[in-house]
Symmetry: C2
Subunit: 295 residues, 2 copies
């Protein structure tokens, strides 16, 4: 600080009475106790802080501290402390004063993931030729994380001509897919080890039923066994009225577990003329190549 910004006497500037400058005996208000209970929220303060990230969406990428305070029920102090901690970690950033957004660390970490992800590496090498095999179609590489299926890579055109219109899937990487719906997810689910499927069922039976996977354990089990017997999943007009999808699992190199799924998306009109099993065969070839390239 070269010229040393030296004007720290706001008390006088603010016109406070001289009394206020005398040593105050006990003017500090004691902390207002929160309502008793095991935990005010579902978790500890560490998890509470991370909830801040959930508030950022494509519709509201910029938030003010007031919004956080209101939406999460914190006080101003706490909201600012969370924001400051997250900013220091780079997970948030301030594009402008009073304005917060997701931060650079996220982009940086995502790059690390791209560099380190063997599935992505393998997919980038194999998918281009696979996508080119069928005109007006794109190929998606998806992956399962605990209880979330994400599109990891897309190859082929950004848009598909279908139903007289151009249907675009923009910025596919990172697109979250419903766990129990869609060819890409089912192709992963069906090849999960039995105890994983069972655990998922016990935990999210309602969601499975709602997605039409099956009302009880027997139905779900049977449905997934059917998919495994076929070797692929084909859906038509579910994700979009004018689109169809065929998906096959990508297994780890030793074939012991499922690493993700490979999905071709095409116009429903193009799909109608073809044999699903034939489309699946081509995908299975690609999936085998991807598997072979996995570290």
């Amino acid at each position: 600080m070269a010229p040393s910004r030296a004007t720290p006497n706001p008390a006088i500037l603010a016109g406070m009475s001289s009394e206020a400058l005398a040593p105050q005996p006990a003017p500090i208000a004691p902390r207002r106790p929160r309502a008793p209970g095991p935990a005010p929220n579902g978790a500890g303060s560490l998890a509470r802080m991370l909830e801040v990230l959930d508030l950022f969406t494509a519709e509201t990428p910029l938030l003010r501290v007031d919004d956080l305070q209101a939406r999460l029920g914190y006080t101003k102090s706490t909201a600012y402390r969370y924001v400051k901690t997250l900013c220091d970690a780079g997970l948030l950033a301030q594009p402008a004063q009073g304005c917060y957004a997701l931060g650079p660390r996220i982009v940086e970490l995502e790059r690390l993931m791209r560099i380190a992800d063997p599935l992505l590496q393998a997919g980038e090498a194999v998918l281009p030729s696979l996508a080119a095999e069928v005109p007006n179609s794109m190929v998606l590489l998806c992956s399962l994380y605990r209880d979330k299926v994400l599109c990891v890579h897309r190859e082929g055109p950004e848009a598909i001509q279908a139903g007289g219109r151009s249907i675009t899937i923009l910025r596919a990487r990172g697109l979250p897919l419903p766990l129990f719906q869609g060819a890409a997810s089912l192709a992963i689910l069906a090849w999960l080890p039995p105890h994983r499927i069972r655990a998922l069922f016990l935990l999210r039976q309602a969601a499975m039923a709602a997605a039409g996977l099956g009302a009880d354990w027997a139905a779900v089990r049977q449905r997934l066994a059917g998919i495994r017997r076929e070797g692929f999943v084909a859906t038509a007009g579910r994700f979009n009225r004018h689109l169809a999808a065929v998906s096959v699992p990508v297994l780890s190199r030793d074939g012991s577990q499922v690493a993700g799924s490979l999905t071709r998306i095409m116009a429903l009109s193009d799909y109608a003329g073809q044999e699903p099993a034939l489309l699946a065969r081509a995908l299975q070839g690609g999936a085998g190549q991807v598997s072979a390239r996995l570290a």
Copy 2:
């Protein structure tokens, strides 16, 4: 938990003596106090938890809990609690038992940033034609976040033929650049509002000097003023012995502040035959188009 996990009586199951069930005077080992001091680490526990993310690198994308425990000095309990909290938030994931990696939430959040970032939107529209103007060259769009410059988008070939070899810049998005070195960073720095430059200088004078920006405030100020007068930054052989770069600032639509920088990277041999100011002029045209497209 279909059969309702209702067996919360570990004392009996474990075969403890009935004495142990009586009110225990003080059998529980008191918490071992940590070394006294204002704070064991530089920050509170919230920031401490986020340090876990720093341990994941391109070289070590997979970590075991023992590693975290050892590298951050936590106990097993704490390490597992952090990991669980971060996993629940999706910032970490377990590809396999005993194995942790960066999680799906990061990819998902990064997608949100791509969707919402006006600079990226504008860049994707403008850069392709700009990159094609000069063969064997790529164009980088970079942005400043508080104290970090990141490449946000790359257009053009992935590799440049220079010095008889092919020099590749892979996965440019998310690539961190040194704040005080390189054309892309300097083109942003120089157009920062004076008080921001001054704040940076006060905070990181040593780093500026080490990067050759200037030993004292006068030198730094003069150097940046010189860049502003020129209107661009050109470097040759700094980032890589066989490459040269020309960079210009991208201003906000109203021109009041700098939003990022636009940089062309080319082979040093190609650069040598050209007039830097002419290259800069073309970039300035592109930067103007990007600015015009900013929301």
